[in-house]
Assembly symmetry: C2
Homo-oligomer: 512 residues x 2
């Protein structure tokens, strides 16, 4: 006899196929599609997105879910099925009450908004983008009303969409610690070393040792980065590595996970730490259990948890001397003229330099969370204050950079226009970057307690670390929440103190 869940499965399978096709299109557009394909291809993507939405959110599916929620059926489902129902309800809750016409208009706005943003950024004119931003905010507020969420609760619910369990209350506490503990540390370091406003790309004096006068051949970087990815655990039988303007990770399923990298002829560190970061994301997706893959549970449980995995490898592991001990000779071999005269210890100091800059994506580990703090405070203001003007937002942005990082953006491009997120309607997304860093630090401290991390790194044996993450986090996909995973792995809740202590200890040692 067919169960109600079997009936649901037909919709789920189709939604899954659409989702996968959309991810493939995204990958294709970023990595290889020809310049002029945009207009025609957008039509296809629009139809697939619309279909994806309709397979998960429709009257039939709602009916089946209602039946399955009846206790006598609910208890017969296994935990995977129950998890899938939970995810489906989350989607319905987020999108189900939005009138289709309005959602379509919003999607159309999204499709043009990133172009408007890009043009505005290129021309350095915030006024070009401001009206679009305002509409974006209006839509977001309206959509929350459809979900029955109003007033002070709006922003927390936007936050929950990306990071369940991390609303304003939790984040206020978290960012307060950043303010009281990290800002003073950054200020002290900056005063002592006067590394003010050193933009990664432009400032030649940022690093003292790694030479900037010669070209780091892309083909050699490419080879080294491929080696690095596989060294960390990227399995090329289940994944693809390509190139795009901005590095990213996407997954078609657990046996087809894809990352990109981007190369800069002057800054080999850029591609090196990008590939470590994206490999961290990729390991998460590759290690999800086969049975969860291609279901609504088949991806990382939250943005923050995903970011914790990428940052764990990029910063906690990838910037450690022990990690580089077996690898550094290979880097020297790849670019002997550049690295032969730099000792491993000097290299480690260089890749851990602190600088107060404008660009979040180029920020070092210590100042990174200050960039997020600023965005968090502005987003709060946006959703607390019904009548905020777009001009006020820019003013706030500049004031906060001055206050927290001691630097004033020269223009909108290095100020309020630097990130694409708001142009995509992603409000409440930024904090998960900081939460990810904090979780990474907490996991790092924990793992150091359960295994000899240093020893493993020095001997180039990354398997135990990878397996531990797979066993305690990756395999579950979305079956367990971030909070559940942390509690089960460490017997302790999310605790930002680990992050604060980690940063203070590491950077005091390096700088003070």
């Amino acid at each position: 006899m067919k169960s109600y869940f079997d009936e649901l499965q037909l919709y789920l399978d189709k939604g899954m196929a659409f989702h996968s096709a959309l991810n493939l299109y995204e990958w294709d557009m970023e990595t290889q599609a020809p310049k002029m394909c945009q207009e025609n291809t957008s039509k296809v993507i629009g139809i697939l997105s619309d279909g994806y939405f309709r397979y998960y959110i429709n009257v039939e599916v709602e009916k089946i879910i209602k039946k399955l929620e009846n206790k006598k059926y609910y208890e017969k489902m296994n935990c995977m099925e129950q998890g899938i129902i939970k995810e489906l309800k989350k989607m319905q809750n987020q999108l189900g009450n939005i009138p289709l016409e309005e959602y379509k208009k919003f999607s159309e706005l999204c499709a043009t908004a990133s172009n408007v943003w890009a043009r505005s950024k290129e021309k350095n004119e915030y006024a070009l983008f401001a009206p679009t931003l305002e509409m974006m905010i209006e839509y977001k507020k309206k959509f929350m009303k459809y979900r029955g969420i109003k007033g002070k609760n709006v922003y927390s619910n936007l936050l929950y969409d990306y990071e369940p369990g991390f609303g304003e209350e939790e984040l206020d506490l978290f960012f307060e610690k950043i303010k009281t503990e990290i800002i003073p540390l950054v200020k002290t370091i900056i005063e002592k070393h006067s590394v003010l406003n050193q933009k990664y790309e432009q400032n030649q004096s940022k690093t003292n040792k790694i030479p900037r006068e010669f070209q780091y051949e892309i083909e050699k970087q490419r080879k080294f980065c491929r080696y690095l990815a596989s060294y960390i655990g990227f399995d090329s039988n289940k994944g693809v590595i390509s190139e795009s303007a901005h590095p990213f990770t996407t997954s078609l399923h657990n046996h087809d996970v894809r990352i990109t990298n981007h190369f800069n002829e002057k800054y080999p560190e850029s591609a090196i730490f990008s590939v470590i970061h994206e490999t961290g994301h990729a390991l998460y997706e590759m290690n999800i259990k086969d049975e969860y893959s291609q279901t609504l549970l088949g991806e990382g449980t939250s943005m923050g948890m995903h970011e914790s995995q990428s940052r764990f490898w990029e910063n906690m592991i990838g910037k450690k001397e022990a990690f580089w001990k077996p690898l550094y000779p290979k880097l020297q071999e790849t670019f002997p003229a550049a690295f032969n005269h730099i000792s491993l210890n000097e290299f480690i100091k260089e890749i851990n330099q602190v600088h107060a800059g404008f660009i979040r994506t180029e920020a070092d580990e210590l100042t990174y969370s200050l960039h997020i703090l600023i965005r968090y405070e502005i987003e709060k203001e946006i959703f607390h204050n019904e009548k905020i003007s777009m001009e006020q937002l820019e003013k706030m942005w500049n004031e906060k950079y001055q206050e927290y990082l001691g630097i004033l953006p020269k223009n909108a491009s290095e100020g309020i226009l630097q990130d694409i997120h708001w142009a995509c309607g992603d409000f409440g997304y930024f904090p998960s970057y900081a939460i990810g860093s904090a979780i990474a630090a907490q996991i790092y401290v924990h793992i150091k307690n359960v295994m000899p991390v240093e020893e493993y790194l020095e001997s180039g044996n990354l398997l135990p670390i990878r397996e531990y993450l797979k066993e305690h986090i990756h395999q579950y996909g979305k079956l367990k929440t971030t909070k559940e995973l942390l509690m089960e792995m460490m017997g302790e809740e999310f605790n930002p103190n680990y992050y604060i202590d980690y940063l203070k200890e590491k950077y005091s040692e390096l700088y003070l």
Copy 2:
């Protein structure tokens, strides 16, 4: 007021999106997807294929078509809309009466058949593949019955599916000419030059001049082939060039047409003529009018016409001295040690060598149609003879190679197992390759009459040729049939004599 055609458009758009997504998956699987993705990805492709089928063939669409066929509506439609209805009816006619369950089983058979074929070929055991081949043939016969087609008409209708207007009657005449005129020529050349059974890949003595002892660096071949594609007219703003095991062309729409190439370190000619061939296909797809792209008219009108475009560039143009005159110095520059001592005239002789081989895809221009003749005669036998055994097929295969080409396959892999087509259920497909060659020759003779082809080629000005093909063939997509296009362009029907004369003239000059 919404017209009936507008109602139909909703289905058409969705079918188009699925078609495009399927093409993207095909491209991805052939060019970059990781080895282990197969099982999960097949699930997605299965769902998309099923959806594609259902959008075009369903009760609602049938109803709308019935209404639109009413004279009072039909006459109000423009010719594009009428063309779309025609294509839709063709699909419905081909697939509409097949019970869904049976079609699914057939699709499943197809999905495994190519693997069985590949294993069978690898192991050189025809007996492994024979039962699958038999089932394939049974399905094909049964499906024709569902379409109400029986007996002597079955094969012609299979032929029509790929090449409307070219059934057994037309092809019998065509192949008769090949038999009486080309086979004797091949025999004479072979006797005179004893170039028997020289397999492209293995026989080192095939070419006399181009050295085989050194490696033609892939990266250099890649660069030269990219140059060649763009020289002929491939527009990289509307297309992608990548690599795969077997070169092919696919199109997502007219602004995103993709070709692949395959490189052999010893035989640079392999990639050179592949890229010219695929560029010929690509130009067709890129030049389809914007309004037809992403509709059922948005691809080349028939397999044969498509093949005529690839072979026109590959053989009629690409193997001419005038074409190579401006290009050959660049090839010499790319591989000076190999080509500097070979004159242009010697190079042209080499790329036009004739050899009797077993492998269709490696055949030269003159013997190519004999390979097709053999397959045509065998397919005829399959569909005329209710009770044919799989053993008989192999026997026929070997006898015919002996008779027409004077060579006997050593084993099944270089015999009946060499082509994948039957494993995909593609019966009636092969003849379109030969028709393509014949059309290409006819077009070539025509174009030489309307413009100074030689002069254009020698001065590297390919635009007039490209534009002529665009204007008279490419732009129309499927709006006009092959026969209509030929008649409108040349004022003359398809006439295989041009092909016969072209071959006789060219090869007598080269060899006799």
